[in-house]
């Protein structure tokens, strides 16, 4: 299908009738279609097993849909050749609930790793890593190992690593899931700042207070089906002025 007919330049992510069924018969996503604009901040909500993680894995091309098409920044990622996938991922930052930091590397090395593996020269690494550590407020802990940091600090390192390459999209899979409410606020405001710099953020979360406070776009999944897509939405069923798309 010609992309020109479907694509508008302000769209960053587009899912078109996407269905994903696992081998055991579980329908993770069922005919989901949606668009996310450039620079948008989207909360992905729903109970466990609703398909949030599959949604993010599909955007990361860790999974392929059984049917449907996914576009990111104007590119059809379903039909992307396998060898191009690493280059796609360089435009996508990822943050996870369990941080996924390398325990034998320092804070600086963990963040630098993201640049090292894509072949950035040392001079660029030396310049960009301190900047991003400054942004996440961990410049003074650059030589610490992850085990010497609190959960919130580790998540900040993970965000720094995801953002150091200035990705177009940042995917966050329950980034505040292991953190207390106060720390979660800090992480949320950090993601908000990143979003304000122009990066599109898609965040899967169970944090009701956070979603309700931010009043941003909310996409709700239930057993793989898109059941709600609202601007200025809240976590649960909107009774407070949310706008149905």
């Amino acid at each position: 299908m010609p992309i020109g007919a479907l694509w508008r330049p302000e769209i960053m992510i587009k899912l078109d009738h996407v269905t994903k069924t696992y081998k055991n018969g579980t329908i993770a996503l069922d005919d989901v279609s949606l668009e996310i604009e450039k620079g948008e901040f989207v909360f992905l909500v729903g109970s466990s097993g609703s398909g949030k993680t599959t949604f993010l894995r599909l955007l990361l091309r860790e999974e392929l849909p059984d049917r449907g098409t996914i576009w990111e920044a104007g590119r059809d990622i379903v039909n992307l050749p396998k060898w191009r996938v690493p280059y796609l991922r360089r435009n996508i930052g990822c943050v996870f609930q369990d941080f996924r930091l390398l325990q034998n590397k320092t804070v600086f090395e963990n963040v630098a790793f993201a640049l090292e593996v894509i072949g950035r020269p040392k001079s660029v690494i030396e310049a960009q890593v301190p900047q991003v550590l400054e942004l996440v407020g961990l410049a003074h802990k650059r030589d610490n190992l992850p085990s010497e940091l609190s959960g919130g600090e580790q998540q900040r390192v993970a965000i720094a690593r995801a953002f150091v390459n200035r990705p177009l999209i940042l995917l966050a899979d329950e980034p505040t899931g292991n953190l207390d409410p106060k720390i979660s606020e800090g992480i949320m405001s950090l993601l908000d700042r990143i979003n304000k710099s122009g990066t599109t953020v898609v965040m899967a979360t169970h944090d009701k207070a956070l979603v309700d406070r931010m009043r941003l776009r909310v996409i709700e999944l239930d057993h793989g089906t898109l059941v709600r897509d609202q601007h200025r939405g809240v976590y649960g069923i909107d009774g407070d002025g949310g706008v149905q798309r």
Partner: protein, 295 residues
């Protein structure tokens, strides 16, 4: 490019050190199996050397009747010189053959043997060792010829058969060990990768290409293979030097002496061993990493 090579060197050394016990196990297995492979190569080359020398030194002895006339001896000698399968001949008198017999026979046997009973002989070098049979067939029963000419054909055949069998046996054992060392290297690397599964996953997430992830692991296998095979080559060199020292005092006609390798031949055997080690190491690790990259 410079930062990538720095990265590869850093990752390889870190991993080799982190997995030093399994690295040592892989290195020793490569060393032992390639030592056997190298030994079979050296033995094969030695057998080939000895075979060439035997071919050049195989003698057919045409024994002449003790009472053969000078004309009969001259006639046989002329025919031998004209025979196309013969490279060259020389005549040994009865006295010379008796002297030789004194070294070969026991005192009891010599006591009943008189010099005039000993046949004189014409000794010929055939073009090829197998041509000895033709000489024997042609000159058996000729006037003045005593019985059938003789050549150590059976002895040569036996020695060759023993060496060939030994060569095959060592080669089969070496190949089995080579295969098992390849599997061990593969397993070692797989363990190393499994320990770094999380790291590989993070690398994939941040957009590292498969080759970027693969190269340090392949390099790791290459280093293991190189160290193992270099040690094997060292032991082969020591073994060959020991063999040389032991055989120096022996007669140049001795089997072990004839099998000695030239420096150039030894160099090639060692080079093959080292190249084999490096190939097994790098291919083994390239196979091991494959399944972890399929994300």
């Amino acid at each position: 490019m410079a930062s990538f090579s720095q990265y590869v060197v850093k990752e390889t050394t870190t991993n080799l050190w982190r997995n030093r016990v399994t690295t040592a196990a892989a290195v020793f297995t490569v060393m032992i199996s390639l030592f056997l492979v190298g030994a079979s190569l050296v033995l094969g080359q030695g057998a080939s050397n000895a075979e060439i020398k035997w071919q050049q030194g195989t003698l057919v002895t045409v024994w002449m009747e003790p009472g053969a006339s000078a004309q009969e001896i001259a006639a046989v000698q002329t025919q031998l010189d004209a025979f196309p399968y013969v490279h060259g001949c020389y005549y040994r008198t009865q006295a010379q053959d008796y002297e030789e017999a004194q070294h070969l026979l026991t005192a009891t046997e010599l006591s009943v043997l008189k010099p005039e009973q000993i046949p004189s002989s014409i000794r010929c070098i055939p073009n090829e060792s197998q041509d000895a049979k033709l000489v024997i067939a042609k000159f058996s029963g000729q006037p003045g010829v005593f019985g059938s000419p003789t050549a150590p054909i059976q002895y040569l055949k036996t020695i060759q058969r023993v060496i060939t069998t030994a060569q095959y046996a060592v080669l089969v054992v070496a190949l089995v060990l080579l295969l098992s060392s390849a599997v061990l290297i593969l397993n070692t690397i797989r363990m190393a990768i499994f320990a770094r599964k999380r790291e590989v996953a993070v690398m994939k997430l941040v957009g590292a290409t498969n080759w970027f992830i693969r190269v340090p692991f392949i390099f790791e296998g290459l280093v293991q293979g190189f160290i193992g095979s270099a040690l094997a080559a060292l032991f082969i060199w020591i073994g060959e030097a020991f063999w040389r020292v032991r055989t120096e005092s022996q007669s140049p006609d001795g089997l072990l002496h004839q099998m000695l390798l030239s420096n150039w031949q030894l160099f090639w055997c060692e080079t093959i061993v080292i190249l084999l080690g490096m190939t097994i190491g790098s291919i083994g690790s390239a196979i091991a990493i494959r399944r972890f990259l399929d994300v």
